[in-house]
């Protein structure tokens, strides 16, 4: 079938306990929009992941233009011309839009390897023109709204000349206007001959834009027709229609008193608004809805995992839970949706996993009562029928269904009065599912109030006494048991034709012109660190000049600049390393090593240039060792450089037999103490290094790749950057630069002591971090590190002139580092690792 750009034939995929896809066929034709619809869990995302190269199908074939292909990994997927536009961020937060589009994929250069920013920005700007959006291409990824990020990903697909474009729920966070623009882009893509797979649950979009529609249900293709041959009802029926099986035994019970009342619950971030919900004793309330309806967010807010506004009444008493611990004490518990990330302690035993929430109960004076613990765990394993070798089995080796039971068991051990279950049978095999359902019925009959969040209609219909339906953050419908059917419930969950109401999202998100102002402000914010520093320095200088007469002299200025020359050169190297995502605390030892090397070689008669070369080489080798051990040994650089710090220093002492190297000959001292055009040579050297590397990081693609590696290593690898090699190179360069610093050191002071460079690494890191380099990687500038070095230099100088003991220097360095990092972390809110 050569008319198909991509053809999937009888694709099947299973995961432990669940068959995600069963012999699914799918054809994607050029110039056609093919909609893919289905409930949560129908298999849509598995199919997308197969196209993206994240999963491989168990059986079936894929053909491209009639030729069989295998999509083995994401890079292969891209090379086949497939572009998947996700909802999650697949961008570099610290890099400009232009780089996000073109890095590694055809940035314009010339002459030679020098990047042509103006032209590249223009290309990006033009692309956006096509998409009808005016966005300054210099904007960093993190400053973009969700809609804008999506637009960038679409632009990237265009730039990549993708032939097959997969859009996964693209309108989930878009306003009216943005949806219209998206549709125009989709039309453009159609006209260019691309095939578009449009995954959605919004019926009106299917009919507005798709040429064909395929419905998945329980992993199978149940309907595949041109859109003009079908209607909304038929599609919904295909999505949800099935017999309600008889094996959900929920007995009819009399609902008791209200146990939990939620009133006017609203999420400050807009995930849900004005929710009113009541749970009675002995009742199961099912909460149905599609992805993004806000159900999990609501549940998490109820137990205190999220902040929210509104009222909760527990048995008639007003409460507010500030943490899950609070809620637990009151008997309200939440079993999370994603057991892998939010539920399980993978490396710990069944016992550990189960008792984590009842530790206080089973402990006396803080010590855990092991036999009581074992008793309760064994009981729970039995009552839930968990298939395990015993309480000491590590949970990562259990099947999905049993893992879910372990998490469930954990919460049941707390004997809750109100149990909130979020997708409790997702990814669980049929047998375990039935057991969990039986359990739920039993618990309810004993008086527990249960809120069941589920995306599986049969489950919701079979288990619930009452059903609530959430749609886009609001509770839109309530049904009593037995009064409704799948179609009715299903229909209320799907958004109607978009009524041009003003959603709160429209109000909160500023219009494009306002955004321009916001973006411009953000841009100045990112430059601000350097501006702040410069202003600070400019303010401090006259103050110090007033305080000490010796400060504002030419000689003093020369001294300061010369003093910081070694520091700023090393800080340049450290900037590279930290931006790439690493850190090197052995630079003090590397400085000492290269200074010693330079001094000894000079003393044995070597000429200047060979000495310079040898010392830099030595530094480079040491840096290379740091980098390669970290990367190949997969050990965090802090541990490696902690070790090499000791090793390198030890080797130096061995080599010099503990003696100082004195009387460094003129070949070096001329360099370290001489002047050129009335400016000390070390200052020239530092200036040249800073300018050179500053330019390289800005104008060479390899420089931008350093930023990419640190900003988002996963995406960097996706576009083909070898992040390990990048890291090793930065460590090596840092070593070379520190080596250069060592030569200057030896020349300047005329001698090298055994304790040379002790504490140097702290100053280098301080200068880099003060200068605005983010310790987590991805952003920073060499010029900023220079300003940081200058600040530190002025600080030491001032302390000497003001007769403040230099012992306070350590305190100052420590405080500066802390302050700088707090400011940075607050600015970009990245997750913390080590």
């Amino acid at each position: 079938m050569e008319q198909n750009l991509l053809s999937l034939h009888r694709i099947s995929k299973s995961f432990p306990g669940v068959q995600a896809l069963r012999e699914v066929d799918l054809d994607l034709r050029p110039g056609e929009v093919h909609a893919l619809v289905g409930e949560n869990g129908a298999g849509k995302s598995t199919l997308i992941k197969i196209l993206a190269g994240v999963h491989s199908p168990d059986s079936g074939e894929i053909f491209q233009n009639g030729n069989p292909v295998r999509i083995t990994d994401p890079i292969r997927s891209r090379s086949l011309g497939i572009a998947v536009i996700h909802q999650e961020l697949d961008l570099f937060p610290d890099l400009s839009i232009t780089e996000n589009l073109f890095l590694g994929r055809g940035l314009l250069k010339g002459p030679g390897p020098i990047l042509r920013w103006k032209e590249n920005h223009k290309r990006a700007g033009d692309l956006f023109q096509q998409l009808g959006e005016k966005l300054p291409p210099e904007t960093p990824g993190r400053a973009l709204s969700a809609a804008q990020r999506q637009m960038v990903e679409i632009a990237a697909a265009l730039a990549q000349q993708a032939r097959i474009i997969v859009m996964d729920e693209p309108t989930a966070s878009l306003t009216e206007r943005e949806v219209r623009i998206l549709f125009e882009q989709v039309e453009n893509l159609k006209r260019s001959g691309a095939a578009i797979l449009y995954v959605t649950h919004r019926m009106n979009e299917v009919f507005a834009i798709a040429d064909r529609v395929t419905v998945l249900r329980d992993g199978q293709r149940v309907l595949s027709v041109p859109t003009h041959e079908t209607n909304r009802d038929e599609i919904i029926r295909a999505m949800v229609g099935r017999e309600v099986s008889a094996f959900f035994p929920k007995e009819e019970t009399q609902a008791g008193d209200p146990a939990l009342q939620v009133r006017d619950f609203t999420d400050p971030n807009g995930a849900f608004h004005g929710i009113h919900l009541t749970l009675h004793r002995g009742e199961i309330v099912g909460l149905y809805g599609l992805v993004g309806a806000g159900r999990s967010e609501l549940a998490q807010a109820i137990v205190g995992l999220r902040k929210s506004a509104g009222e909760i009444e527990l048995d008639g008493i007003r409460r507010m839970f500030r943490s899950p611990g609070d809620a637990l004490e009151a008997g309200v518990v939440y079993v999370p949706e994603d057991r892998l990330v939010q539920g399980l302690f993978h490396g710990l035993t069944v016992r550990d996993n189960m008792t984590i929430a009842i530790l206080r109960e089973i402990s006396h004076y803080g010590l855990v009562d092991r036999s009581e613990e074992r008793r309760r765990v064994t009981e729970q394993i039995a009552s839930l029928d968990i298939r395990t070798r015993g309480p000491e089995q590590v949970v990562s080796t259990l099947s999905g269904g049993n893992q879910q039971k372990v998490v469930l068991g954990r919460w049941l051990l707390t004997k809750p009065r109100i149990l909130i279950l979020d997708e409790p049978t997702r990814g669980v095999d049929v047998g375990a599912k039935a057991e969990i359902h039986r359990l739920m019925g039993h618990l309810a009959s004993e008086g527990m109030a249960i809120l069941l969040i589920s995306s599986e209609l049969p489950e919701v219909l079979g288990m619930s006494d009452r059903i609530g339906v959430m749609r886009e953050g609001r509770l839109v419908a309530q049904f009593q048991r037995g009064e409704t059917n799948e179609e009715q419930v299903g229909r209320s969950a799907f958004p109607e034709d978009r009524v041009p109401e003003i959603s709160t999202r429209d109000i909160e998100r500023p219009s494009v012109t306002e955004q321009k102002g916001t973006i411009r402000f953000l841009r100045t914010l990112s430059h601000r660190r350097e501006t702040i520093l410069t202003l600070f320095l400019l303010a401090v200088v006259p103050i110090l000049a007033r305080l000490t007469p010796g400060f504002a002299t030419v000689q003093n200025a020369r001294d300061i600049l010369t003093n910081i020359s070694v520091l700023s050169i090393a800080a340049t190297g450290m900037t590279l390393v930290i931006v790439a995502g690493g850190i090197d605390i052995s630079v003090g030892a590397i400085l000492a090593a290269s200074a010693t090397c330079a001094a000894l070689l000079a003393k044995s008669g070597w000429e200047f240039v060979p000495v310079l070369f040898a010392a830099c080489l030595a530094g480079g080798v040491l840096g290379f060792i740091n980098g390669s051990v970290s990367v190949s040994g997969r050990v965090h650089p802090i541990i490696v450089t902690l070790g090499t710090m000791g090793i390198y220093r030890g080797m130096i002492v061995l080599w010099t037999r503990g003696r100082w190297v004195m009387n460094v000959p003129e070949t070096l001292t001329d360099f370290g103490q001489g002047d050129f055009l009335a400016i000390p040579i070390p200052v020239w050297t530092a200036g040249i290094v800073v300018i050179l590397f500053g330019l390289a990081l800005r104008y060479l693609e390899s420089g931008r790749m350093v930023y990419a590696s640190g900003s988002n290593p996963r995406v960097a690898r996706l576009i083909g950057i070898h992040t390990g090699k990048v890291l090793i190179r930065t460590f090596t360069l840092c070593g070379v630069l520190t080596g250069l610093g060592g030569v200057i050191y030896a020349g300047r002071y005329g001698e090298v002591q055994t304790n040379t460079g002790i504490g140097f690494e702290l100053k280098v890191i301080a200068a880099t971090v003060i200068g605005g380099t983010n310790i987590m990687g991805g952003s920073g500038s060499v010029f900023g590190s220079l300003l940081g070095s200058l600040l530190l230099g002025i600080l030491s100088n001032a302390m000497v002139l003001l007769h403040i003991s230099t012992y306070w220097e350590g305190v100052a360095v420590g405080v500066f580092i802390l302050g700088a990092v707090v400011v940075d972390t607050a600015r970009c809110q990245r997750g913390t690792g080590l």
């Binding site: 669940v18 809620a327 080796t397 990092v821």
Partner: protein, 326 residues
């Protein structure tokens, strides 16, 4: 005892055998006694560091806190306070320093690595600033006894180490607190969902680490009969090496006190042996550095191998599940 702990015990025994062959003075009781005195400072800090690293964090400032608390002890005593009170103040200053670390990490959201690197400079600076590089010596007899003499045949400081190790064992392996530490180290997100008070635990943990460094500072001051600002410089390397050698993963979630004890014994036995064989002290530092890196790399590969065999025997891999399907 787990397989890895037995393995380390074997390594230690082999080391002892090899060294006693190489050096006849190895098994000399007096030598052993003197050497074991050095176990105390590193050992006390290693116990706390084990817990810190299990949660996925790290504390690089312990060496500086050691020096600072020694100085606080010395100068408070010199200022006229009774020595027992000065000791208490010194130890508490360590705990406070640790608490400050915790505050920076929890509320300042500073990664533990950089926070404790900064406080490494800060506390050392405070120690230098208070003392102006002067030292305090000539402590009372009983204090010197504690540091240098023996009690019933073993060094007088040994009971301190043993007490700390026992408490650490109980805390980590038998108490609620310990369970929460392992949980946080394995999956911090899941710990929060499971109602574990993660922030409080971390604050306590870093305070305890500071406290242990404070104790070590007192012990070292007594041993050397001197309080000086540069005491403890570089000790973080020793401590972290013992912990990593003991099998604790840098990435968190795994580690035992027994493992750390074995790591401590192996490292100190190595150093003792090298000392007897007249190996230069600098070479000892190099060896420790090499051991740290080698064990860290080895630990990683062993863990990778274990995961691979575990998932093979279970018949599936955790990675392949449809979590988050739409």
């Amino acid at each position: 005892m787990t397989l890895s702990e037995i393995g380390r015990l074997v390594v230690w025994i082999v080391l002892i055998v090899a060294l006693s062959i190489l050096s006849p003075r190895f098994m000399d009781v007096d030598n052993l006694r003197e050497a074991s005195r050095y176990l105390v400072t590193t050992g006390v800090m290693s116990a706390a560091m084990t817990a810190v690293i299990i949660t996925g964090g790290i504390d690089l400032s312990v060496g500086s806190i050691l020096g600072m608390s020694g100085i606080v002890l010395g100068f408070t005593w010199q200022a006229g306070f009774p020595l027992p009170l000065a000791v208490l103040i010194g130890v508490l200053s360590g705990a406070l320093a640790g608490l400050l670390n915790g505050i920076c990490i929890v509320y300042g959201r500073i990664p533990p690595l950089i926070a404790t690197l900064a406080t490494l400079a800060l506390y050392r600076g405070i120690a230098l600033a208070i003392s102006q590089a002067a030292s305090v010596t000539n402590f009372p007899q009983w204090f010197q006894f504690f540091g240098q003499r023996n009690f019933a045949g073993i060094p007088a400081q040994m009971p301190l180490l043993i007490a700390v190790l026992v408490i650490a064992y109980i805390l980590l392996h038998r108490s609620r607190f310990g369970r929460m530490i392992y949980a946080i180290g394995d999956n911090e997100t899941a710990a929060r969902f499971a109602a574990v008070p993660v922030d409080k635990v971390k604050l306590w943990l870093y305070a305890i680490s500071g406290l242990s460094a404070g104790l070590a500072g007192v012990a070292l001051t007594a041993h050397a009969n001197t309080a000086k600002a540069d005491a403890g410089t570089g000790y973080e390397l020793d401590v972290i090496t013992c912990v990593v050698l003991g099998g604790t993963q840098i990435t968190g979630g795994k580690g035992t006190i027994l493992g750390t004890i074995l790591g401590l014994l192996i490292v100190r036995t190595m150093i003792y042996g090298m000392h007897l064989l007249a190996v230069k002290t600098v070479v000892q530092t190099i060896v420790v550095g090499v051991v740290l890196i080698a064990t860290a790399v080895l630990n990683q590969y062993i863990e990778l191998w274990r995961e691979r065999t575990r998932s093979q025997s279970a018949g599936h891999s955790v990675a392949g599940s449809p979590a988050g399907s739409s």
